[in-house]
């Protein structure tokens, strides 16, 4: 079963990294989860200031806005899609992810399965 791990990074220090999760921690985690053969897709996202929002109303008019910029410190910073047997295994990977530390959180969401698809 596939699960999306949404990584909400915690508080940032002066160098732009989350406190207590060094780049080396992320590289180690990425290596481990890749070696386990469970990763379906993964990306880390560019800085929040580059975010743009698009909405199309009922008349087909397109509205493009800068942002939105979350006011909370938790900001979506990246994701993994993993294929594992059950929620407990997905939660174990989420707990290993450096994004779950230092005030951050990893949100685990199953990918919908459509019978026959």
């Amino acid at each position: 079963m596939k699960y999306l791990l949404l990584i909400n990074a915690g508080e940032l220090d002066l160098s732009g990294g989350a406190v207590g999760c060094e780049p080396a921690d992320w590289m180690r985690f990425d290596q481990e989860i890749t070696d386990a053969g469970v990763v379906v897709a993964s990306e880390s996202l560019a800085d929040l200031v580059t975010q743009t929002r698009v909405q199309v109303d009922n008349d087909g008019k397109r509205t493009v806005t800068d942002g939105p910029f979350a006011e909370t410190r938790e900001v979506l910073g990246g994701f993994y899609v993993i294929d594992v047997p059950d929620l407990d295994v997905a939660l174990d990977w989420a707990a290993k992810c450096p994004g779950s530390r230092a005030g951050g959180a990893v949100v685990v969401r199953p990918v919908a399965e459509f019978p026959g698809a």
Partner: protein, 407 residues
């Protein structure tokens, strides 16, 4: 008939657990469990009880599940992947006896990924065999609300695929307290109802004890399970003495100790010994030990307060919560006097968890009354009155207030 129902209630949990694990779906498991029991109630009086009733029920339920999946292909497709996984995981059992998978079900129902309020409901429904309206009454919510909550929790188990499995030995210390907490919260609601006309709800307390007995039989070596069962037995043993003829509160110091259930106390004491032996004690074992010290005192005056305060010190170190600090202070009043206890209580005044907790206001009121500081005692009783939940608790506090103004 009631006797037959009771037998099935016990069997139902086992059947449900085995089927839930087999098919990875609680809904299907519940449906075919109910159908199999219905079939048994119909057939057994005519054909006689089969030599292996559990096996008969299991075979019948499985056959009904397969029928159901044949009829509903979409549903079958949804469960197909799960079924394959479950089949692979199923190890052969000695003697072909149908497996007891209730421990798996305990951990699934108390899974931390479920809403805290749903865990108790699901546990009562699946493992204690209560119907949805009975669970609704247990939590004092409308049946429709409870039905929605149970549907939501079951859907999460199925769709997020919360597994039916017992955590490994090294996960157990993290997961077992969650299961114990579910059982204990059912018990505490039974011990002191949070609202309503009765102080105690004995049926709920008894369900919690029943669940703990099942869990203890499944995990006999886990000392905190023994500790929780001991704690509940030792407290529940006082049930008949805790209320008077009209349901009014009778305090520990005024209880007729001959009305305590001494068989239950003996059972609880044996379990306390077990829970305290073989390593550092857990919080339930220590709380059970405190309850045992109370139960062993022939009179209130002969209570070993030195021992009780010492046990509270151990408990505070294990679980430094404000509620435990409050209970420790209440015990300290009998060892060191009300003045010392009041000083301690006042240091807890800013604890958010105690601010609206009526036992805190009540304990303060009691100490102030003992110290003859009447105006403050009245204010504290009035505060407790606004916070108290059940009718007998409010009646008790009003009586204390009346005593104060008459004295």
């Amino acid at each position: 008939m009631d006797q037959v129902e009771a037998v099935f209630r016990e069997e139902r949990g086992r059947l449900l657990a085995a089927l839930a694990r087999r098919f990875g779906d609680l809904d299907l498991a519940e449906e075919v469990t109910a159908e199999a029991i219905e079939a048994a109630l119909l057939r057994w009086p005519i054909d006689g009880v089969p030599p292996n009733p559990g096996g008969w029920l299991m075979t019948t339920a499985r056959r009904k599940a397969v029928d159901r999946l044949r009829r509903d292909q979409v549903y079958a497709a949804k469960l197909a992947i799960l079924q394959v996984d479950a089949d692979r995981a199923e190890a052969p059992r000695p003697g072909g006896e149908f497996p007891d998978d209730r421990l798996e079900l305990f951990f699934t129902c108390a899974h931390p990924a479920l809403a805290a309020e749903d865990r108790g409901a699901l546990t009562l429904r699946c493992l204690a065999g209560l119907s949805t309206p009975e669970v609704a009454r247990a939590f004092l919510v409308p049946a429709a609300t409870m039905a929605k909550r149970i549907v939501r929790a079951k859907a999460k188990i199925r769709d997020a695929r919360i597994p039916f499995r017992v955590p490994s030995k090294d996960e157990l210390p993290e997961r077992l307290p969650g299961v114990l907490q579910v059982i204990y919260s059912v018990f505490t609601e039974g011990y002191a109802a949070s609202s309503g006309p009765y102080l105690q709800r004995l049926d709920l307390a008894e369900e919690a004890i029943r669940l703990a007995r099942i869990l203890h039989s499944l995990l006999p070596a886990e000392r905190e399970v023994a500790g929780l069962l001991a704690l509940m037995l030792l407290v529940h043993a006082r049930r008949d003495a805790r209320t008077g003829a009209s349901g009014e509160v009778v305090l520990l110091e005024d209880q007729d100790r001959t009305r305590w259930d001494h068989d239950q106390i003996a059972e609880g004491r044996a379990l306390v010994v077990q829970s305290l032996t073989g390593g550092p004690a857990g919080p339930y074992a220590v709380q059970a030990a405190i309850a045992a010290v109370h139960d062993e005192a022939p009179t209130f005056a002969s209570t070993d307060w030195v021992q009780i305060v010492a046990l509270y010190d151990v408990l505070s170190a294990l679980d430094p919560s404000p509620v435990i600090a409050l209970n420790r202070a209440a015990a300290l009043a009998f060892r060191d006097g009300p003045e010392a206890a009041l000083t301690l209580l006042d240091t807890l005044a800013d604890e958010p968890r105690l601010r609206d907790y009526h036992p805190y206001a009540l304990a303060r009121a009691d100490l102030l009354q003992r110290l003859d500081r009447r105006t403050e005692a009245v204010a504290a009783y009035e505060r407790a009155l606004t916070l108290a939940g059940s009718d007998p608790e409010r009646i008790h506090i009003r009586a204390r207030l009346a005593d104060l103004s008459n004295a």
